[in-house]
Symmetry: C2
Subunit: 175 residues, 2 copies
């Protein structure tokens, strides 16, 4: 396998996490070992449709800092920061073990955008990425230094979204 690239899916449109999930499926089809780590989402609680399917296909799934003040007013900044730091320590461990071919860090750009992680902390983590690992980072508001470091960036730009018409998140579509 050639050098693994760093992908960033950012922007305010729908399709960032789902593009990462589609990459996971494509990679699995070629025998890649895949790991998916959610930030700011509790994979058990929100019961997203992809969870059981991906687990059934052998994807390892973890979650850190499983909430966000936007959705949960009772959680403190320090609690979320602690969860995010635990998450990046876990990723560093995964990097050292070098046991995956594709790793997805879902919504990690949100951790950066909202200050739960410092740019330097994530940049230092990326220095430890095993050369062959393909790494996907999703979430709005990816900071400039991260964009400079990435090999592939797509901005998912919202042109139209049903939320704007008051249509709520729908089962099988948004989760």
């Amino acid at each position: 396998m050639k050098r693994g690239l760093i992908h960033i899916y950012t922007g305010d449109g729908k399709g960032k996490t789902t593009a990462a999930l589609g990459q996971a499926i494509r990679a699995l089809g070629h025998g890649f070992r895949v790991c998916l780590i959610y930030f700011h989402k509790n994979p058990e609680k929100f019961r997203s449709g992809e969870l059981e399917i991906l687990r059934g296909l052998g994807v390892d799934i973890y979650g850190f800092a499983e909430c966000h003040p936007y959705f949960d007013k009772d959680v403190t900044f320090d609690q979320i920061r602690a969860g995010c730091l635990e998450g990046i320590a876990f990723v560093a461990k995964i990097f050292a073990e070098n046991k995956y071919d594709l790793l997805i860090l879902d919504e990690i750009s949100i951790s950066l955008r909202d200050g739960f992680l410092k740019e330097g902390e994530v940049m230092a983590l990326l220095e430890k990425k095993p050369s062959k690992l393909e790494l996907i980072l999703t979430g709005r508001g990816a900071p400039k230094k991260l964009l400079e470091k990435a090999d592939l960036i797509t901005e998912m730009k919202k042109i139209k979204h049903p939320y704007d018409k008051g249509i709520k998140g729908r089962r099988g579509i948004e989760y």
Copy 2:
């Protein structure tokens, strides 16, 4: 199930087809019946990683007009147009049978952009969409009328792509 929406994933960035595949996985996890139709790609020939995985999960997969002059200089415009017309006749049949919850028409915007299908032909097709069916159309250059008709549009905007550095399409990532 509520009214199914029309999604468009367009733009020059990576993530249109993979976002559709991710939607398929999410939808499958909630028991949706899913169908994927490729335009301008031969699903058997290019052996994309997603094929076997999705088939194994029960997704029905078809391909029409399985080439494009950009990749195959020997094919004529009329041959591709005939394949695309066969494709939309097949979709009309699927609509009439109403047997899926999610249908993906991959790269159909390319058929429109390059004149293999006429805008009126696709717009007339969309009028026949079963109300509950969720429909995803991918491909660059989605025309204005199609955008007006859609409920959800994301423009996948290329900010950086390894192709620009001469890195070719990679197994498990681009196919």
